[in-house]
């Protein structure tokens, strides 16, 4: 079905095997003026935030006017980018070099979910009505803790920034980091789920008593409202009804916005990057993503495999190194060279395993170009570190 593939039984693992299939050309993606939005998605703990920030910085230093929207950056990284204050507005990042001469710039912001939600309400409703909604206890809980709100708001903010950028020409590239979702697909589903809920019978049911006509009250409705009152308590039901009644006029606006953002994501200017680590779980999630994105006709640009173990140097196999270490230990139990050989063996095994995992992914998704980023010894918390990650993403290898 696919083109013949190189033998997998190769025992030598060398730099040339770093990417088996198609290589993702990160610089071409960043330099292409048609790329207007890059969305980084993937499961939690794979380095999405760092990847987003590194891509944004690299693009800026190559001359693009970039804004990066992050969700929950590590504190020191946020500090170094000057975005530890949550004010929901992009702020210029100091210390961006290189591209300045070419007109590049970098702004960054950290998403404040509740504030974004509030802003949407404020922009859609009259001041009195907005107040009524913002003060409703049900809204307060919904806007700060509903499991899909963060995903939805990230997309909402993306839509806003994009509209502003189109109007004012402030940015020509938006890089978005997605929330670490319970399910990797939450952020794609959230707008749809919200709309379908808002269209649903349940809303009509909640609205029915407020709107009066008893003809709505079929037997089923009666059971439902009674049950709700019984289980949730009448107070909660009243709060919910007030909220839904007040929110009713905004629903259309929400649905429209959700639809627009969805279309924006499907447009040609958008590129999705699926971020993963070379581990079975992360790659499985990545596979879901790839399938889901193609199902929804979202433009997938490629896969980024972060934190790949560094390539071993030399051509001694794990078994060879272990055997040699054993021989050395026989003469000298504390042999330091034996320790070094075992270290080498661990590294070879780790890389072999990761390579195998990547090859399996590639076998199932041969169309997905991949960039492999070797793990750095330390954590990234400044622009220099991001620059280094950016270079690795683009395939530059330290000499």
């Amino acid at each position: 079905m696919t083109t013949p593939r190189r033998s997998r039984t190769r025992s030598r693992v060398g730099p040339q095997s770093l990417t088996g299939g198609r290589t993702l050309d990160v610089d071409r993606l960043l330099d292409d003026p048609r790329t207007g939005i890059i969305v980084c998605c993937g499961s939690g703990g794979v380095g999405k935030t760092t990847t987003s920030a590194a891509l944004a910085l690299r693009a800026a230093e190559r001359g693009r006017k970039v804004v990066v929207l992050t969700i929950d950056p590590a504190r020191r990284l946020a500090q170094s980018m000057g975005i530890e204050v949550l004010d929901n507005t992009p702020r210029p990042v100091a210390g961006v070099g290189g591209g300045a001469g070419r007109g590049g710039s970098l702004d960054a912001m950290m998403l404040d979910m509740k504030r974004t939600f509030d802003e949407v309400v404020e922009s859609q409703a009259s001041p009195e009505k907005a107040r009524q909604i913002l003060d409703n206890p049900f809204y307060v809980a919904l806007s700060s803790s509903f499991a899909g709100t963060q995903e939805y708001m990230a997309m909402e903010k993306l839509g806003q920034i994009h509209a502003d950028a189109q109007r004012d020409g402030t940015y020509d590239l938006i890089v978005v980091d997605t929330p670490p979702s319970r399910s990797a697909l939450d952020f794609l589903d959230a707008p749809e789920r919200l709309s379908s809920f808002l269209d649903g019978r349940f809303i009509k049911l909640l609205l029915a008593p407020a709107k009066g006509p008893a003809r709505m009250m079929t037997a089923g409705f009666g059971i439902v409202t009674n049950t709700l009152a019984k289980v949730l308590g009448a107070q909660v039901l009243r709060d919910m009804q007030t909220f839904v009644a007040a929110f009713d006029t905004l629903f259309g606006g929400f649905r429209q916005r959700a639809q627009k953002t969805f279309e924006l994501l499907q447009a040609d200017g958008t590129a999705f990057l699926v971020v993963a680590a070379p581990e079975p779980d992360a790659l499985r999630e990545a596979a879901y993503f790839v399938e889901r994105l193609s199902e929804d006709e979202m433009p997938l640009a490629g896969l980024v495999v972060n934190r790949a173990s560094p390539q071993p140097i030399g051509d001694v196999t794990a078994e060879g190194a272990m055997a040699a270490a054993q021989r050395l230990r026989k003469d000298d139990a504390d042999s330091r060279t034996a320790g070094l050989l075992r270290l080498h063996a661990d590294r070879v095994r780790m890389v072999e395993r990761e390579t195998l995992l990547r090859q399996r992914f590639e076998a199932a998704h041969p169309q997905v170009p991949t960039a492999v980023v070797p793990a750095l010894a330390g954590d990234v918390h400044d622009l220099a570190g991001l620059r280094q990650v950016g270079a690795l993403l683009a395939g530059e290898r330290p000499t």
């Binding site: 499961s43 939690g44 703990g45 590590a74 504190r75 020191r76 206890p137 049900f138 809980a141 919904l142 509903f146 499991a147 899909g148 670490p180 319970r182 789920r193 809920f197 649903g200 019978r201 349940f202 089923g220 439902v224 009674n226 049950t227 709700l228 019984k230 289980v231 949730l232 308590g233 009448a234 107070q235 909660v236 709060d239 581990e279 992360a282 560094p310 071993p312 140097i313 030399g314 001694v316 060879g320 190194a321 055997a323 040699a324 021989r327 050395l328 330091r336 060279t337 034996a338 320790g339 070094l340 075992r342 270290l343 080498h344 661990d346 590294r347 095994r349 780790m350 010894a377 954590d379």
Partner: protein, 335 residues
């Protein structure tokens, strides 16, 4: 058998930053706790079917299934039984309605009107209350309930550290929202269990800056909410092929190429320059990483909670590996 370090604890809640291996730790803990003659329940709540994958069984339904035999005792005695339960909020809600309200028909009506979907996806906090409510029910079950299995311990593979306080404490939020009524009563009982000495929240981390930071923040947050902090499991600890002396020598540049070359030749390998330089470079990388890990380890030690250590398994984690990890947790006293 109960946990050696946490003898009073019936409910072990395992959290951790994404990617630190909390599900692996939860599964190993369940195997380790299942001593001869006991029943342990392992619950998952995030809809991932991770348990089914780890134990290589069919995807789990909303029902308690036997998935494995616990880790054997040192005297060779056969271990107890590990059961697993995949809790999804929809089923939990319908069960809750029929159990407490005898609402078979109304439950279905609710489903038809999209209420179940609303309650489990949109309504703030309800989802978490349903999930934790089921865990509560399984933990508090006793011999009066003839039809159901009574568990000696329950292990919950919980949401990640960033969400854990909300997940466990969300009852307050909801209890505030529902100022009275049965949901509030239910939420209050759950809260009481979570805040009692029968519960411990264990945090899984790896020796990297962000996960350790998140663990530190998580512990502070749990304590702030009065939730009982258990232990910290330092997971995926890299092999320690070099001891402190070796590391010091590598860092000081005291390991000579000539020595390595002669050792390599003596061991039957080709002591050519590329290999010698390679080994030295790898050793320096390793020394750098170890220094960072040691710094993070010191931060973990300063947290003043019991710590446990599990190695990075180079070959990946299969069922056999879970038993191996379970043995280590038992040796170290968490199980």
């Amino acid at each position: 058998m109960s946990s050696r370090d946490f003898p009073q604890v019936r409910l072990h809640i395992v959290t951790g930053k994404g990617g630190t291996g909390k599900s692996t730790v939860a599964a190993s803990l369940a195997l380790g706790l299942a001593a001869a003659g006991t029943n342990v329940l392992l619950c998952e709540v995030e809809g991932r079917q991770g348990i089914a994958r780890m134990f290589d069984v069919e995807p789990l339904p909303y029902a308690e299934r036997r998935v494995a035999t616990g880790l054997p005792e040192t005297d060779g005695q056969r271990g107890g039984v590990v059961h697993a339960l995949h809790i999804d909020p929809e089923s939990a809600l319908l069960e809750y309605l029929s159990m407490y309200y005898k609402l078979g028909r109304a439950g279905r009506a609710l489903d038809r009107f999209g209420v179940v979907e609303f309650a489990t996806t949109i309504a703030p906090g309800v989802r978490d209350v349903l999930l934790t409510g089921k865990v509560y029910e399984a933990t508090k079950r006793n011999s009066r309930n003839k039809k159901a299995i009574t568990y000696d311990a329950v292990v919950l593979d919980a949401p990640p550290t960033g969400r854990i306080a909300q997940f466990l404490g969300v009852n307050h939020e909801l209890a505030g929202l529902a100022r009275m009524g049965p949901i509030k009563t239910q939420a209050d009982s759950v809260t009481t269990l979570f805040h009692s000495r029968r519960t411990a929240v264990h945090l899984v981390t790896v020796l990297e800056e962000m996960p350790v930071q998140e663990t530190t923040d998580g512990i502070a947050q749990l304590r702030e909410h009065g939730l009982p902090v258990g232990g910290v499991v330092v997971n995926q600890v890299r092999p320690r092929d070099l001891d402190d002396d070796d590391l010091a020598a590598v860092r000081a540049g005291a390991v000579t190429k000539r020595q390595i070359a002669s050792d390599l030749t003596r061991s039957g390998l080709d002591g050519k320059a590329e290999m010698v330089t390679g080994l030295l470079t790898e050793a320096r990388d390793h020394a750098e990483r170890r220094a960072l890990e040691d710094a993070q380890r010191a931060l973990v030690d300063a947290l003043d909670v019991p710590t446990y250590e599990l190695p990075l398994l180079v070959g990946g984690v299969d069922l056999g590996a879970l038993y191996e990890l379970a043995g280590m947790l038992r040796d170290q006293g968490l199980a």
